[in-house]
């Protein structure tokens, strides 16, 4: 086992997580180095937070303790791109924007600029095209992780079809770095489409937007995305994306025009694929079954607050952004939205918020299976050293 002093450097002023300063930073360049660092950290009982691009480091609760930041940015690069097999193996610290896969794509949208592949997987962010391609969990075919005790484990593999053993990649997806360090991900790829088209139309109210989205799904155009944008007070917009061959896309876009009505226009609206909040504001994720998406939009309006709701009406995943002041009002909005989402069999999760708001709201809301989740955490990280307190139920 290596010596911690040789494997780490002292933390600088920027090396904090959601306001909690670290003592040490390590930036291993390989799975083996990461394993050595984490074994040493385990021996020393250090609390660890994994940091990629740092773009979502303030999502979830701040860590209850923090000694070591494990920076993944040297764990970067494409290990393999087997175009004929439509797969790639990528190191976790690779910026998603750097993925250059000629003729093919990792069909994972990037709603948060500056993200790494590992961070995207760990927080399970997704964008408009999840309607067609799914999310990270659906595209992952294998994963290499380093456990909190420093041991290296692989699950899945490099082939798209594989049911040997438990699917640890799904367990680590969306785990917010609380189970261990992701060092490599294998993904299935898709061909890059020859053509794409977005058709966008206004709707007078959320219910009408819901009808438009349903009509798009009904039309057999196989949309890659069906998005909705509802700024406070302003008109609601619905936009759909089709991807495919040049001729095919032209015909499908024509169908979209018919379905979306006279006011439909071509072109990507400027809000497309972006999250509806700015730094310092409150960012919320809302989910619901498809038919209940309008109910969430309506409830957001009914709060009377300056809430913008935007996201995938085709997948039932929306995001809401609102100003952080006054925190009491934010808490009320969150409560109302959550009540509406729970009635709809969905969820409301506050992804990011300033400390004053975090003190007033429960970020996660009701979590099904929490007792089992605690048992999973206890098995992987019995000393609760990885991002302690950041995740659901104080995990």
């Amino acid at each position: 086992m290596g010596d911690l002093a040789d494997l780490t450097r002292p933390a600088g002023d920027d090396d904090a997580v959601a306001g909690v300063p670290a003592r040490l930073v390590a930036a291993p360049a390989s799975t083996e180095e990461a394993s050595a660092v984490l074994a040493a950290a385990a021996a020393a009982g250090l609390a660890v937070v994994v940091r990629g691009g740092g773009s979502k480091l303030d999502w979830g609760m701040p860590p209850e303790r923090l000694d070591l930041i494990l920076d993944t940015r040297r764990l970067a690069g494409v290990v393999e791109h087997a175009a004929g097999d439509l797969i790639t193996v990528v190191r976790a610290g690779t910026p998603t924007d750097d993925l250059d896969l000629p003729g093919q794509q990792l069909a994972l949208d990037r709603p948060v600029p500056g993200a790494t592949v590992g961070g995207t997987v760990a927080v399970n962010t997704s964008g408009p095209r999840r309607v067609l391609y799914g999310t990270a969990r659906d595209l992952l075919i294998g994963m290499t992780v380093v456990r909190p005790d420093g041991r290296v484990a692989h699950a899945g593999g490099k082939v798209v079809k594989n049911v040997a053993g438990y699917d640890l990649a799904k367990l680590f997806t969306g785990s917010y770095g609380t189970l261990g360090l992701i060092t490599e991900c294998a993904f299935r790829l898709h061909p890059r489409p020859a053509a794409t088209a977005v058709v966008c139309a206004p709707a007078p109210d959320p219910a009408a937007a819901g009808r438009l989205a349903a009509a798009v799904r009904d039309a057999q155009v196989v949309p890659s995305a069906v998005e909705v944008d509802a700024p406070p007070g302003g008109p609601v917009e619905v936009a759909a994306l089709v991807e495919g061959s040049v001729d095919g896309v032209a015909e499908r876009a024509a169908v979209l025009h018919k379905v979306l009505g006279d006011q439909a226009r071509d072109g990507v609206p400027e809000w497309w694929g972006t999250l509806p909040w700015r730094t310092g504001q409150v960012g919320i994720k809302l989910t619901a079954p498809l038919s209940r998406v309008p109910a969430l939009l309506t409830e957001a309006r009914a709060t009377g607050a300056a809430v913008t709701v935007r996201g995938s009406a085709g997948a039932g995943v929306l995001y809401a952004g609102l100003p952080a002041d006054p925190p009491g009002d934010v808490a009320t909005v969150v409560e109302r939205l959550r009540a509406a989402a729970v009635r709809a069999e969905g969820h409301v999760v506050v992804l990011t918020a300033p400390p004053a708001v975090r003190q007033l709201v429960d970020l996660w809301g009701p979590v099904g299976g929490l007792a089992l989740m605690r048992r999973v955490k206890d098995q992987f990280d019995p000393e609760h050293r990885f991002a302690p307190g950041r995740f659901v139920g104080g995990i």
Partner: protein, 484 residues
């Protein structure tokens, strides 16, 4: 001891839904992998989630293992009973609770037959995409446990991609909901771990499935080639052209011979390999790509290409393929079905090496496979009556698995590890890999009562976990924060 448990189960289910008579128990001694046989101590038929939970709790109280069974079509011995255990059969839980085109979801009981979901959804313009060849008989619960695939999973993904929620009886006997009708439930993706866990993490008692809009257009062709090399090259060309077919299936000469003998599917005479290629989607996309696929097949040596004129002809193309396993029975008294996966581009090389292996051992191997994703189904033929043949077939079969691993593939693409392939797991995974997977097992089932002896060659001792309750908020400890 087991009599006491039988009494408890009868108190919950009624006498007629608990079997203990040896003759009756025999019906359940094996699944689709019939050469493993174990007679269970008891068989129980719950009707509801609560009854199923009560059965599991009774097993836990008696420290008796339990094994879930759906339709018993599994091909890896996953539903092989435990001699001292209870086999929990879901065949009387067959209600389709809800079909909602507006939510693109169906909610079903675990015993519901795969094809019945599609039948219920089709009038609404939807279907359930994963289509194992056994779809007329296999259950959704079994599909969930095996993460089953099918021909159309190349484009649409496997069971795991189409399950958004499940109500599960945990190995403690608790009823828990994982996921639901909405996507992305907060917390760990336990549903993702449960799907494909082969019944080792508990029993699914209700499953929420994604429904997919029926495609506007479906076009299917059958292309005959002189050799599997040519057919493989055609598949590579199709993928390289950026086409993602709904399905690409290949059969070699021996598999074709068997299918002809069994179902007279009328494939082109003299073919060394046939490809079935199906495209679906918006009509405008499908027609252009279909022409391209046809050209690519011809360019790569197809000597005959038939295009299905209607659903009846399409069904005939598929009949040969979907009946292939059973058909092999016509040309060989016994056979082993393999399920290994290789990177698709290694197909020609691996097929040649399988041919050599077969020749060297004096064993015939028929090849049927999902060519689009490299999932091989070599059928290793033998006659158990001939001394030594079964052993040689077993050797060939093991060597094929090694080939798959050597080429960076997997020991199983869709049939699961079960009883049959657990001994090969250490060839594909390191001791640490397997140990890490079993951490999940320990979290769900520390006592190891849920389908023990499957998937993993050796169980992990779970032990007491140190520091279990460190760091959590007292409210959460008290179970209050959980429901805020």
């Amino acid at each position: 001891m087991i009599d006491v448990l039988a009494g408890r189960l009868r108190a919950v289910l009624g006498a007629e839904r608990v079997l203990s008579d040896r003759q009756q128990l025999r019906t359940y001694e094996c699944d689709g992998l019939a050469h493993y046989k174990v007679i269970p101590a008891l068989v129980a038929f719950p009707h509801t989630a609560e009854e199923c939970a009560a059965v599991v709790r009774a097993c836990v109280a008696a420290n008796v293992p339990f094994v879930a069974r759906g339709s018993g079509t599994g091909l890896s011995g996953g539903a092989l009973p435990h001699a001292d255990g209870v086999l929990v059969v879901t065949s009387q839980m067959r209600e389709i609770r809800d079909v909602s085109p507006a939510d693109e979801r169906a909610v079903v009981e675990p015993g519901v037959i795969n094809l019945h979901v599609t039948r219920a959804a089709t009038p609404h313009g939807y279907y359930y995409a994963p289509d194992p060849s056994s779809q007329q008989i296999c259950s959704i619960g079994g599909n969930v446990a095996e993460n089953s695939g099918g021909a159309h999973c190349l484009k649409y993904g496997f069971t795991a991609h189409h399950v958004t929620g499940a109500r599960v009886v945990t190995p403690d006997g608790d009823l828990v909901r994982l996921g639901g009708r909405a996507p992305d439930a907060p917390g760990y993706d336990l549903l993702g771990a449960f799907v494909g866990a082969e019944g080792t993490l508990g029993i699914a008692v209700e499953v929420t499935l994604k429904l997919v809009r029926l495609p506007e257009s479906v076009r299917t062709l059958l292309a005959a080639f002189a050799s599997t090399d040519q057919a493989g090259a055609a598949v590579s060309a199709i993928i390289a052209a950026g086409v993602v077919p709904a399905a690409v299936e290949m059969m070699d000469a021996l598999a074709i011979e068997a299918a002809e003998a069994a179902v007279a599917c009328g494939y082109p005479a003299g073919a060394g390999a046939v490809l079935i290629v199906e495209l679906d989607g918006p009509a405008a996309e499908v027609s252009a790509q279909f022409d391209e696929v046809r050209t690519l097949c011809r360019d790569n040596g197809a000597f005959e290409i038939r295009v299905a004129a209607d659903d009846a002809e399409r069904a005939l193309f598929w009949k040969g393929r979907k009946s292939a396993f059973a058909a092999v029975g016509r040309i060989s008294s016994d056979y082993i079905v393999q399920d290994g996966v290789i990177p698709r581009t290694a197909l020609p090389e691996v097929l040649r090496r399988i041919g050599t292996l077969a020749g060297d051992h004096g064993i015939r191997v028929a090849n049927v496979f999902h060519a689009g994703d490299g999932n091989l189904h070599p059928l290793v033929l033998f006659d158990a009556e001939v001394p030594g043949e079964a052993e040689r077939a077993e050797e060939v079969s093991g060597a094929i698995i090694d080939l798959c691993i050597e080429y960076g593939g997997s020991i199983t693409g869709e049939h699961g590890v079960g009883m049959d392939k657990s001994r090969y797991m250490p060839r594909m995974f390191t001791a640490d890999d397997l140990d890490t997977m079993q951490l999940v097992r320990c979290a769900f089932d520390p006592a190891g009562l849920s389908n023990p002896g499957k998937v993993f060659p050796t169980p992990r001792l779970c032990g007491e976990v140190p520091g279990r309750h460190r760091g959590a908020h007292p409210l959460q400890e008290a179970g209050i924060a959980e429901v805020f």
